[in-house]
């Protein structure tokens, strides 16, 4: 046991610890000299710590301390940090440890120093970061909702425009006017289809946000959906005189909803069409892999930056107005494919042009419909 004047007591004093030993009457008596901070906190304290008056925190901790002293041996109880105030308002962070020294209950009070301040600074920084993240997250969600509202507004305006065009179409016009009208109608319908896709993405994101994962078990017949997708873009290919090679048939089911898959495939085909020059060619290929299906579309157009579509929301891409619609199509592919744990990518084709591809997970036999 550390006795007054012993080296152990001197060490405790040098470290600024206050050691109290509990006697048989239950009183906690200071052992050795009182550190300056102890005198500043409790000026009236001479040798005995009047716990009840001194600190409600310590009074509460003494219940845990008693438990520890009853166990004896190497048992220890630590209070954790707490703050006391001196008469002039200065705050002092303390920690108490209950332990048994040579069979005698002891209470060690420590004024927390640099290590504690460093820990506190780290916690401060970590908590500020968490709060900044939460604010940013909330802000992003608000912006997404705002964008969704804007898209809804645009959709509504376009619907009105389409109705007006249809009414005009019923009237008699010159051949030139009919041609222009058809062009306007088509452009408007394309825009509306694009906005609907954007709205679908938002709806899907919101479903995720609110924990509705109805699409989690979605699946579709790859070859059937691909055939429909090819059929739907055939007129546009013919109009631009773009030749199509493929696709080959592979009969399998993939783990993505039919509607989502159809849009992904159509978007990739439309993207290839957009990249192609009139009279060009696109190649459509599907490869059945062990657990996935690889679908790729190759065009002969101007080479696009690698992984186009994966950086749609970066400032540089947003600035490219003429390709924004195309980028949006690819962004949809990326989101839809990633949602079903698939992959999406692009790179220059081996023989020029571009190769856009998606890799979709096959449906595992247990969940096959």
């Amino acid at each position: 046991m550390a006795s007054s004047g012993s080296p152990a007591t001197a060490v405790l004093e040098a470290l600024g610890f206050a050691l109290f030993l509990r006697d048989e009457s239950g009183a906690l008596t200071l052992h050795g000299a009182a550190p300056a901070w102890l005198a500043a906190l409790w000026p009236g304290l001479t040798t005995t710590l009047p716990v009840t008056e001194a600190s409600p925190f310590l009074e509460n901790f003494l219940i845990d301390a008693e438990e520890c002293w009853t166990k004896g041996g190497a048992a220890r109880a630590q209070s954790g940090a707490w703050i006391e105030q001196t008469a002039d308002g200065a705050e002092v962070s303390l920690e108490a440890t209950a332990l048994t020294i040579d069979g005698q209950p002891a209470l060690l009070l420590e004024k927390l120093g640099d290590v504690f301040e460093a820990k506190k600074a780290m916690l401060q920084h970590a908590r500020e970061t968490v709060m900044a993240y939460q604010r940013l997250n909330a802000e992003t969600q608000k912006k997404e909702i705002l964008l969704s509202c804007i898209a809804e507004e645009m959709n509504s305006a376009l619907a009105n425009a389409i109705t007006a065009l249809r009414l005009i179409e019923m009237e008699k016009h010159s051949a030139r006017a009919q041609q222009l009208l058809a062009l306007a109608m088509r452009a408007t319908e394309d825009q509306q289809a694009l906005i609907n896709k954007v709205l679908d993405v938002f709806a899907s994101e919101l479903a995720d946000l609110y924990g509705r994962h109805g699409d989690a078990v979605a699946e579709s017949s790859f070859d059937e959906v691909l055939a429909q997708a090819v059929e739907s873009v055939a007129p546009a290919l013919a109009e631009k005189r773009v030749q199509r090679r493929g696709p080959n048939k592979i009969k399998t089911r993939v783990a993505i909803g039919e509607e989502q898959l159809a849009r992904v495939l159509v978007n990739l085909l439309e993207n290839a069409l957009q990249n192609s020059t009139p009279g060009g060619e696109i190649l459509i290929r599907a490869v059945a892999e062990a657990e996935t299906v690889l679908f790729e579309v190759l065009d002969r157009g101007a080479i696009m930056p690698p992984n186009a579509g994966t950086n749609f929301f970066s400032k540089d891409v947003i600035a490219m107005d003429e390709t924004t619609a195309g980028q949006l199509r690819l962004q949809f592919c990326l989101i839809a494919v990633e949602k079903c744990q698939g992959e999406f990518g692009s790179e220059p084709g081996e023989e020029g042009g571009n190769r856009f591809w998606v890799r979709l997970p096959k449906v595992k036999s247990a969940s096959r419909k």
Binding site: S55, P56, F57, N60, F61, I63, D64, G80, A81, W82, I83, E91, S93, F116, K119, K120, L123, Q124, A126, R127, E128, V130, M131, Q134, R135, A138
Partner: protein, 166 residues
Amino acid sequence: MIQKKICMIGASGVGKTSLVAKFVHSMFSDKYLTTVGVKIDKKTISVDGTEMMLMIWDLAGDDDYQKLQTSYLRGTSGYLLVADGTRLVTLDQIIEIQERVAAAVGPVPFLLALNKADLTTQWEVTEARQADLAARGWKTLQTSAKEGASVEEAFVELGRALARPA
């Protein structure tokens, strides 16, 4: 004089310390200073003509870095739950924390302070959400430690609940 221990409980950064500072010292600072550990303050209030000394235990925010130590709740007569009305996530957190607190201290009175009510443009807690809390039997007050709105009321209301016979 009656003396009652109450605890300030909530996620980090919701304004527990600011509410205590406003209530006890009539002070407010915009600067966020995290609480590590416990700080105890005292203030005497008058509850329907009776003086009551509140011993307010301001506990560190409960988060991934520090969990609420239930030994600090020992002997508490009631508690003030605090959530940040501009961060909906803190309301979800407080619901989970309250379950832990109730398991530790039993059915003692408590009140929820939805703090930072001065930040109206950033407010995220909807009326529907507050109605849901009311349906759970939670008494809720919108407080602002910055402007002092409902701060005194929150503590006095809790004190009143403590004074009522169980």
